[in-house]
Symmetry: C2
Subunit: 408 residues, 2 copies
């Protein structure tokens, strides 16, 4: 069986490590994650790696090199609820496959490779993203240990029960000497590669992102008795905002703005909505552009409120700055793509990835793999064996170029 086929099969095997029957749901520090770590650990050993885990629960396979430097590869092994098979596992398995190829050829590179299977990127269980990679990067926030899951279990308890020591998470920070960088293979989760008919693309950077909670407070009232011109309908105000936000984003190149959650109170068919709370997610590859867009959108919400006698309050829920992929790593990845006979396309990533957290530790790069119709966070996630073959080839070539950049 060929390596690309093996990678696909392994993603299918991992899909069986789930806490839900009939769906893929693999939260942090659960039996489903233990199952995934055991499988991936076995595959790492087969590829000649020494396997260990750290306190937070990351799986780490080390393939020794000749020199003292280390290159980090990897992605995450946890999943959202009712996930697809490839978001996360593909990157871990392509990295293992590239090491397997070196191992099969009996080759050693002038640097060690560590393949990381991060314990929590999606944050399904505790609502806290990049848990695994933040531990590796040394930016784990100890306050997160007090978070509780839906069953009232604290993160501290969950880490202990999973076999880690929550009091020594700072030991998880990578400390193996000189780092060459972190490189992550991931499905694109968007439609761009498919539209350009390309199997892979190099990522130029990861978009800056801000998330807000916006509440519109109007006056609830009887749907039959309050005339239209007397209403302060919170949902109509919110609707105006949603529509305007879409228009604003459409007119600003590279900007995406999404209202993904919305709740209406009191939420009865015969009551005029008194209060609406919604989320606004805004992203742009350039920090300054994002800042301008966010403040404009919040001002629009506020103006709509003023115009309609509706109170508007906004809270910033989260933010992260744009991450620029390392120019040297990007140029090597681009050459690796070109050397594989594929036109080089550079994409900005609108989604966050472990590379965001890892950028605090070292230089980062990413290779995107085409996914069917751009669908992700969905059981319908799909990649082809042919595209996986290209990804393995490109990553292998990237390792060769990094090993001998001047001669390549």
């Amino acid at each position: 069986m060929t390596l690309p086929r093996i990678v696909i099969e392994r993603c299918h095997y991992l899909a069986r490590c789930s806490q839900d029957a009939g769906a893929i749901t693999r939260p942090f520090a659960t039996d489903a994650m233990r199952c995934a770590n055991e499988l991936a650990g076995e595959w790492m050993r087969e590829a000649g790696m020494a396997v260990r885990r750290d306190n937070v629960g990351n799986l780490i396979g080390r393939f020794e090199g000749i020199g003292d430097a280390t290159l980090l590869l990897g992605s995450h092994l946890d999943s959202i609820r009712d996930a697809g098979k490839y978001d996360g596992p593909l990157g871990v398995n392509v990295a293992i496959a590239a090491v397997q190829r070196l191992h099969d050829q009996g080759r050693r590179l002038p640097f060690a490779i560590e393949v990381l299977g991060f314990a929590d990127e999606e944050g399904l269980r505790f609502g806290s993203t990049y848990l695994g990679s933040r531990a590796t990067a040394g930016t784990f926030d100890r306050a997160d240990l007090d978070r509780v899951d839906a069953d009232g279990v604290t993160m501290r308890e969950a880490i202990s029960a999973f076999g880690g020591d929550p009091d020594h998470l700072e030991d998880d920070r990578w400390q193996g000497g000189r780092l060459l960088g972190y490189c992550e293979v991931h499905i694109e989760q968007g439609p761009v590669l498919e539209e350009r008919d390309l199997p892979v693309g190099v990522v130029s950077g990861i978009a800056a992102q801000e998330r807000y909670s916006i509440t519109f407070r109007g006056v609830a009232g009887h749907a039959g008795t309050v005339p239209m011109d007397r209403r302060h309908d919170a949902l109509v105000a919110a609707s105006l905002f949603i529509e305007t936000a879409e228009g604003y984003a459409q007119w600003h190149e590279g900007l995406v703005a999404t209202v993904g959650q919305l709740t209406v109170r009191p939420g009865a068919a015969n009551v005029i909505p008194g209060e609406v709370t919604l989320t606004l997610d805004v992203r742009h590859a350039i920090d300054d552009e994002l800042a301008v867009a966010s403040s404009s959108l919040l001002a629009i919400a506020s103006d709509i409120g003023k115009h309609r006698g509706i109170g508007v309050t906004t809270t910033k829920v989260s933010e992260h700055r744009a991450v620029r992929c390392d120019p040297l790593l990007v140029s090597l990845m681009s050459r690796a793509i070109a050397d594989s006979g594929i036109p080089v396309a550079a994409l900005a990533s609108g989604a966050g990835h472990d590379a965001v957290a890892m950028s605090e530790l070292t230089e980062v790069a990413m290779l995107f793999v085409r996914c069917k119709r751009g669908v992700s966070h969905n059981p319908a996630e799909s990649v082809t064996t042919e595209d996986v073959a290209v990804a393995i080839d490109v990553l292998t070539r990237f390792l060769e170029l990094l090993a001998a950049p001047t001669s390549a």
Copy 2:
């Protein structure tokens, strides 16, 4: 103590009959309703009435007259969750007060009066409105008996447990001979009387009403990776509809259109909404106007969907035709208002009332009482003792006019 003050106090007493501590929640066939029926039954007896209950749980007090005809008065004793004190109880207590005045004066009218305290108008427990008045009108739908409440109790079981016989609900139909009509006093639940500085107004009719469930089906996707021009965002389409529906209603005199419930799926901050379901409530005093408005609004929803590549499905959830109040009763009520020294204002009721169900049995009329800021379905419901005094006077005068219409 004056009668108006007693009426207000009795509404406060009834507020203590609740299944929630600290809030008024009085669902059909519960201990809270038993409490309300016991109190109101006592007040009816004090006013010289013979008191009974029927199978569905309506409380009925009969004040005998001289002739063979009967006039029905009343309103409902059940409530929504976290209700106000006056929606329903005010009408029952004003009716009892008017009878009390006759009783105190030792007067008998040429017709009997029956005061009805309906067992369920709001439909909180079983999602079925006008349960009590439909039983009285003989239009109770036996299929409703299989409805279950949130605890899995069927309506049939609830009626039995409350002391009624669910197999003989047809006996609840009013069968006491010639009827003069049904007259209901109720808070306005809207701001019109307050704006016109009037304590009461006569109702010309009850608006026709249609309720729809509309679903917008787009394509869910990652909020960071799908460019704006590739999206089929169900919530943006729904927002366009909500805004357009408001505009449409504003430009059509007498029309109200409300989207009161809205749910987004999957409903995550970082996922483009794939599906939105909302309710549309449309009302107009004229059946034909409502029909035109509803079909226009549904066509707008459909057009928005076509324009945006979003599937739109609509389901009619409920409808009732406009109810015209009886011209004779309306003219007597108008004279009673004028005789009380109040300018006569005729209002269409946008809210449904027991009078809707009762119109299947007999002629109906309604008297609206001003409520503070038009607030209803809310603990902040408020009426003044002065306005209640006017309502009692007007209802008393109405009874006199009905007793001797030619001489009055």
